[in-house]
Structure formats: structure tokens, C-alpha cells
């Protein structure tokens, strides 16, 4: 959640400039909603319960969850207005998330 908080702090102005931030995880929506309310973020949380989308993106960490279940590989992707990938970051260590400055720079470069 630290990345979302970091992102939220800096991207709120970009949001007003019209960027859609979509946070995807297997979290059930009720939990994500609580998270969104708790963090007071303008994100759209979507639920990828069975990891179908993560799989389609090649972003599954097989057996990486605390109970040995499959979990998504943390990743951040910046798409331009045409839906084309302009920047992305996939980390090798799940404690590490892209620097919000880097994400913001990628968004501003669009």
C-alpha cells in the first residue's frame, strides 16, 4: 500500500489533469473499497479474483502468496490516451515499488 500512498500524494494533481489510476489485485472489492476510503485516494480498485487478468499480462507469481497461493507480480504500467504502453516497471522484490517520481515523469511525458 505504500506505493499507492506515495502515488496518491503526488498524482492527485495529475488526476485532476485527467489520468485514470486503476489498481488491480485479487482483493475482494469490499476490502479494496475500505482501503480506498482509508487512504482517501481517487483510485479505481478493480478485483481480479481468479488472477485471469494477471495471467493474461504474464504477471503471476506462482506460489508467491503467504499460503502458497498464486499472487500477482507487483507492476506499474503507464498507458497513453491511445491505450499504448509508454512505460512500465515490474519489480523483482515485492517490497520494492517504482518511485512515484518516475511514474509521474512517465505520465507527464505523455
Amino acid at each position: 500500500m505504500a506505493e499507492l500512498q506515495g502515488l496518491g500524494a503526488q498524482l492527485s494533481e495529475a488526476e485532476q489533469a485527467g489520468v485514470e489510476i486503476v489498481a488491480i489485485s485479487p482483493d475482494p472489492n469490499e476490502r479494496s473499497q475500505k482501503l480506498a476510503e482509508g487512504l482517501r485516494l481517487g483510485y479505481r480498485f478493480v478485483a481480479d479474483r481468479d488472477l485471469a487478468v494477471a495471467r493474461r499480462y504474464g504477471l503471476v507469481h506462482a506460489g508467491g502468496g503467504p499460503e502458497g497461493q498464486d499472487v500477482p507480480r507487483p507492476a506499474t504500467v503507464v498507458l497513453d490516451r491511445e491505450g499504448v504502453v509508454r512505460w512500465f516497471s515490474v519489480s523483482r522484490n515485492f517490497q520494492v515499488r517504482p518511485d512515484p517520481d518516475d511514474v509521474l515523469r512517465a505520465v507527464r511525458a505523455l
Binding site: 485527467g18 498507458l79 504502453v85
Partner: protein, 133 residues
């Protein structure tokens, strides 16, 4: 205070300091993105405690009291950072200059959200996260 006791105290301060710094500064990207920093700090705390044990004249318990927890933190921290937290690098469907796969997923309000909804309208930042701490 003997030099041994001082080293033991320093060891404790370094270990607690590392835990506190990482926990409280998690939102700072420079801290969060270098978790190996806490492993290094625990190694330092362990080294200081080991030095304290070596230098202890008679009563060694303050030194052992520092060595026990700091070496546990070092082993636990290193295990977590270099083993548990590792994410295997496998090919993804992400290519700069290409569109990623479209998807339709429900948001927290139950509305179906598609990536294609935003095409021609807004840039999108997709954040995939684990959903588990």
C-alpha cells in the same frame, strides 16, 4: 559503562533504529526501494554485539542480550529480503509501444470497468498489487 556494555547498547540502538526507520519511512521511495538497507543495519548490529561479547570482561549477559536478538533479526531479515520477497522474472505481455491485453473487471461499486473505456479519453496508470501484505 564498560566498552563492552557500550557496544551492546549501540548494537541495540542500531537494530531498533533500523526497524523503526524502515517502518516509519516506508512511504519514502528511497527507503522503501532499498530493503537491503535493513539487512545491512542488522549485520552491523550483530557485528557490534559480537564485538561486545569478545570485549566483555566478566559479566557477559548484556553482550549476549544484544547478540541474540540482533543475529535473529539478521537471519530473519536476510531470509525475508533475499528469499521470501523475491519475485521470479518471467516474460510479460508488456511492450512499450504496444497495447496490452484488454480486460473487463468489476470495481468496488460493482461497475464493470474495461481498459478500452479509456481509449481516446484518458491516459491510464495500471497498478498491479499483491493484495496481501
Amino acid at each position: 559503562m564498560t566498552s563492552s556494555a557500550r557496544l551492546a547498547a549501540l548494537s541495540v540502538v542500531v537494530a531498533i533504529g533500523a526497524v523503526a526507520a524502515y517502518a516509519f519511512l516506508l512511504r519514502v521511495a528511497a527507503v522503501r526501494n532499498h530493503p537491503e538497507g535493513y539487512v545491512v543495519a542488522f549485520a552491523l548490529a550483530t557485528a557490534l554485539a559480537a564485538l561486545a561479547v569478545i570485549r566483555a570482561p566478566a559479566r557477559r549477559w548484556p553482550a549476549w542480550l544484544a547478540l541474540g536478538p540482533s543475529s535473529l533479526l539478521l537471519v530473519g531479515g536476510a531470509w525475508f529480503n533475499f528469499v521470501v520477497a523475491q519475485v521470479p522474472v518471467t516474460p510479460t505481455a508488456l511492450r512499450v509501444g504496444e497495447r496490452p491485453p484488454d480486460f473487463t473487471l468489476p470495481d468496488a461499486a460493482g461497475r464493470q470497468v474495461s481498459l478500452a473505456d479509456f481509449r481516446g479519453k484518458k491516459p491510464v496508470v495500471l497498478v498491479f498489487y499483491r493484495g496481501y501484505w
